[in-house]
């Protein structure tokens, strides 16, 4: 008993030493980077879109870091969902169990939040979740680019959801879809006022849907870079590296939660479109 305790203490001591060593190494590295660079780290510099293969001009078809990392997230999803589940083993491999976990997670969410008849839209919602989650996670790799921190990227996703939901609403319910704005449970004199409010909140959806994701990702990465800027000062370097580590853990959580929130809101909007009765 005592022996095992001692061994775990030894282990954790080793881990602590390893962590400290890594932290000091990182501090030295970042100090070196800062000394060689002419300017300090600017927290918003990481979000600049630049062409990957020379030049400064960004045209319609230029391969920039954004398009590269968008392609990378598609590649990551393909690797996980197609190559990972290729074996179709009864006892799944690690990749297969992650893929199955993601599938079951999203399927349950669609069924519970949007209703049984929304399962027809499961492929779209699964695509959204996997894309946003993988783009968020890939953005956390050092020296990578967070594509979802750009409102241009998230706005396209949110607009697609908005258009799909509106189209589905009119397609499934016809003009009854407008009942979404006419709150029949409210007193009659209040209904026109509520209709205006509902109309505004309906058209604001794509804005909040996209900026929630983009803003969260951008803010988190900017905070990490702000702490990275402090790491250049030797006196505060250990604290700032601890802070970066903590923020990184938080960002990992945020990356997942934001993908989850994005998908669950899509499910909520879809439920509104399929069952507009207020």
């Amino acid at each position: 008993m005592a022996e095992s305790k001692a061994s775990t203490a030894q282990k954790s001591g080793n881990g602590g030493k390893l962590f400290l060593g890594g932290a000091i190494g990182l501090a030295v590295l970042s100090a070196l980077f800062l000394n060689t660079g002419t300017t300090a780290i600017h927290p918003m510099d990481q979000f600049t879109v630049k062409p990957l293969f020379g030049g400064d001009h960004v045209g319609m078809l230029t391969i920039t870091n954004v398009t590269f990392w968008l392609a990378m997230s598609v590649l990551a999803i393909t690797l996980l969902l197609v190559v990972g589940t290729r074996g179709r083993a009864i006892i799944p491999s690690r990749a297969q169990s992650i893929a199955e976990l993601a599938y079951g997670f999203v399927y349950k969410m669609v069924e519970e939040v949007a209703g049984k008849d929304a399962v027809a839209f499961f492929p779209y919602i699964m695509t959204l979740f996997m894309f946003v989650a993988s783009a968020n996670m890939l953005g956390l790799l050092p020296f990578s680019f967070t594509t979802t921190s750009h409102i241009a990227v998230t706005a396209v996703l949110a607009l697609a959801v908005f258009l799909t939901v509106t189209f589905v609403g009119f397609w499934k319910n016809g003009t009854k879809f407008l009942g979404l704005f006419w709150v029949s449970s409210a007193p009659l004199p209040l209904r026109p006022v509520l209709a205006i409010i509902e109309l505004i909140s309906y058209f604001v959806r794509p804005v909040s849907h996209s900026i929630r994701l983009g803003g969260n990702m951008m803010a988190g990465h900017a905070v990490i870079k702000v702490f990275a800027g402090f790491a250049g000062l030797m006196a505060v370097a250990p604290f700032s590296i601890l802070a970066i580590t903590a923020m990184y853990g938080l960002e990992l959580l945020v990356a997942f939660v934001q993908a989850y929130v994005f998908t669950i809101l899509t499910c909520v909007y879809l439920k509104d479109a399929l069952h507009p009765s207020h």
Binding site: M109, E112, V113, V204, V207, S208, I211, R212, G215, V257, Y260, V261, I264, L265, V268
Partner: protein, 74 residues
């Protein structure tokens, strides 16, 4: 001078983010209070929790949007 005022406005708009933080904390805290009273029902309500948080956060996002517009568009 105009740019300076816009920056002050952006800073004031950031107060809205703090207000949204209060709202989100309220939602999460009340969820926890309810969940600890009836833990068996808590798991089925996590989706509602996240939807509530998302809607509370949406209004903070508008202040963030105002700040962004003041910083880059005005």
């Amino acid at each position: 001078m105009e740019g300076d005022l816009a920056h002050i406005g952006a800073g004031l708009a950031a107060i809205g983010s703090g207000a949204a933080a209060i709202g989100v904390g309220h939602v999460a805290g009340n969820f926890l209070a309810g969940a600890l009273r009836n833990p068996t029902a808590a798991a089925s309500q996590t989706a509602t929790l996240f939807i509530g948080i998302a809607f509370a956060e949406a209004l903070g996002i508008f202040s963030f949007l105002v700040a962004l517009l003041l910083m880059f568009a005005v």
